[in-house]
Amino acid sequence: MSCARLPGPVVLVFLLLTGCQQQASPEPLKVYRHALDGVPSSLDPAHADDIYAATLVGNLYDTLYRYKYLARPHELTPNLAADFPQVSDDGLTYRIRLREDARFADDPAFPGGHGRAVTAEDVVYSLKRHFLAETRSRGDWLWRGRIVGLDPDTRLDTPDQPVAGLAAEDRSTVRIRLGAPYPQFAHTLAMALSAIVPREAVEHYGREFGVHPVGSGPFRLVHFDESRAVLEPNPHFRRGPIDLDAEGYDAELHHGYALEGVDGKAYPLLDRLEIHFIPEPTGRWTSFISGSGVDFVMVPPELSERVLVGREPPMFSREMRQRYHSRHAVEAGFAFYGFNMANPAIGHNPDPRRAQRNRALRCAMRDAFDWDSRNRSFHHGLGHIFPGAIPPLLPDFDARLSGDSTAHRPERARQRLADADWSPDRLPELVYGMEASVHQRQMFEQFRSWMDAIGYPAGKLSARTFASFGEYARAIGNRRLDIFLLGWTLAYPDAQYSLQLFYGPNAAPGANSFNYANEDFDRLFELAATLPPGPERTRLYRQLNEMVIDDCVLIGSISRTRLYLWKRHVRMLPDTEMGNGEFLRFVDVIEGSAE
């Protein structure tokens, strides 16, 4: 490959001397160029809690389980595990058998430089690692207090310290004991945070492990910087063949994407995978449109007018459908405005009369919010507005739930304020927090104008800007903001993940940014979280959702529709929402038709 770059005579000399003749007529490389709209900072699985890092980690490392390529709603399937876990009758003990043929990639960290087989000890180590202080894990909360021996205040000093509920029974079996039923446990073992890492590499690279990944996944890392990552197949990864039916192939749904061609082939199919990090919408689009840029784009909402001819449901124009493959899917997450219930001026209050009045105020502000207008101006009509915190992606989503809480009703808002004795001079002064960006400022101005329209004086709503998301998160964590806009992405398809946002013990600095403290909610939540999926659990989830809507804890919510376009010579069904970019290992490039 490098021969082609050298000038003329040198190439000849090189060919003669180094025997590059076999590359004189090279096979065309199968290259796929993917585009992500963000930049991962670290490739250490313990830090991979955003979709960008997860996409890379998911392809460089193995997780015990992964999601099926095509089945929707998402379904788990064994990955590093040989089959589904053997769960005891009380749901407390999991036995997971590993496959025999998984091997880490070659790396100088191993003796002799050869990657070795993955064992159950590696799984135990990878999980224990989250509880060492120097790991600075972002995923330990998934298992803390769940696995026996990893209590909320447990601190491991070395990875050799024994943990009662986490052990390797033999070379390829892991036994995990939980303190209480945890139906979502297998899902947590499909998250990039749980990926299996070799101890040798962690100790060899130390702090640099985040830029020197060593995994047993389908790819290995060749190059990584702020603008792109280049991956090549891991020669030790031999799984497959691809069984499309097992992955959820449906001839009707998946017609037209030419996926049949990959059935029965070993994967990964690519020779080279380039993942470009392009946060700017302009850059992403132009790179895709030009001949030599990326092969895939998540269409920026600003450009939706150019590619769509209809919005309900989204319909791509004929030109787009002819030139490219296209798809639309709702995001695995949602955005909402939250109130700080810990502020007695607007949230929980020991005086029941004041608490009622506060609730009326919150509900009035919610009525004054115009989701349709927000959807039009900032999401270009691509947002799916729904009440509460169970987004449309989930099977527990209740399509029949009343849209009353998301309707724009300024007169009802005024009525609420009047009935609860809120005159403009008695209204509390609230702090609205936002990140420093032009859009955020415009959203704030829009919000303030709606509040002004129902009699909430603009002067009482002050804005605080934060230069970075970290600073913003800190202010929320320190309970300094009264109204804030947040997004929450779902790591697995279970409403427990979003309803935990209101669970009392998760109060700030935890995920419960609302600092919602409702004992009835907590009780029901604990009950629902231990039930297996089924109608009983769905009923409880919906009840919890309605509690939250009723109490006006949030103004919510909106899920955005994603628009995908990719070039015709690429055979794939992309999913940038749930999971860890598993689809990338199944991508195939039809040779000879690349531009």
Partner: protein
């Protein structure tokens, strides 16, 4: 040059077009300060992304705010930033430069030049951002940071000029007659640097406005108001969708004002600086 000479030079004909433009902008800003126009720049005045029409002369932006009103408000902000930064930084530079130049190579000079060099060595945007964080939410963090960095060039120029002036006879005479340091600098030396100060302050005026554009683009600009920089920043994404109005209007407004001020500064400098008077060169021709 003494202030009197400066006034005399200024009385001669200044380029008409540039003067008219700057005056027009200044009057616009004055109107905003007096509240005659441009006050409701934040109001959602109509549907988003409307083109130029009778109600909205330049159309509306993404959220539905009137672009023309925002442009007017931005004019006032531009002058505010420019003046708030130019005047203090020029004064600061004059004082520091005068003091350093009056005691060349002694300890005040050493310390002040060390301070100048230090501030010059810190990258400008890092300094502004860091200062914004340090001052948390206070308005004026950006202006303060600009003042703290823009005085250095003025100080260096004034220092060089002071060093030259203090060797002249009239200064020696005043020193011999027992005039104190501060009076010396303030009443005998600095007035002769008026031409430098005038030119420098207009250079800093322009630099401050331009720096604000970059800072707004990076997300660090004015917090509670609208400026051309913010309009350009919001427009940078709208352009993709084919809405150019915001970008073109704000850019043109900025370009024309800066061009006019630069032109005036250029003419002023050539007239006031004894070494590059246009006549001298022409006579060589």
């Amino acid at each position: 040059m003494m202030p009197g000479e400066v006034r005399q030079t200024l009385r001669r004909r200044l380029p008409p077009a540039s003067t008219a433009i700057v005056t027009a902008y200044l009057l616009t800003a004055a109107g905003v300060w007096l509240g005659w126009w441009g006050s409701d720049w934040a109001a959602i005045a109509g549907p988003g992304r409307v083109g130029p029409s009778v109600e909205h002369w330049l159309g509306t932006n993404l959220v539905g705010q009137d672009i023309f009103t925002r442009l007017l408000a931005g004019t006032a902000r531009a002058f505010e930033i420019g003046l708030v930064v130019a005047i203090p930084s020029t004064v600061l530079g004059a004082v520091i430069g005068g003091l350093a130049g009056y005691f060349p190579n002694r300890w005040p000079d050493g310390v002040l030049m060390w301070l100048t060099g230090t501030l010059d060595a810190i990258p400008f945007y890092l300094f502004v951002i860091a200062l914004s964080y340090a001052l948390q939410d206070q308005p004026g963090a950006m202006q303060l940071a600009m003042i703290a960095t823009f005085w250095t060039l003025t100080a260096r120029l004034i220092r060089a000029e002071t060093m030259r002036l203090r060797q002249l006879d009239f200064v020696t005479a005043a020193r011999v007659s027992g005039v104190g340091t501060w009076r010396m600098i303030g009443r005998h030396i600095l007035p002769h640097t008026t031409h430098i100060l005038l030119v420098q302050s207009s250079i800093v005026f322009v630099a401050a406005i331009k720096a604000e554009v970059v800072l707004s683009f990076l997300g660090l600009g004015l917090q509670h108001s609208v400026s051309w920089g913010m309009m350009i920043a919001e427009a940078s994404q709208e352009i993709l969708a084919g809405h150019y109005m915001n970008f073109i209007c704000a850019s043109l407004a900025l370009l024309i004002l800066v061009l006019a001020v630069n032109h005036l500064t250029d003419r002023l400098q050539r007239r006031l600086d004894p070494r590059t008077r246009a006549e001298t060169v022409k006579r060589m021709g």
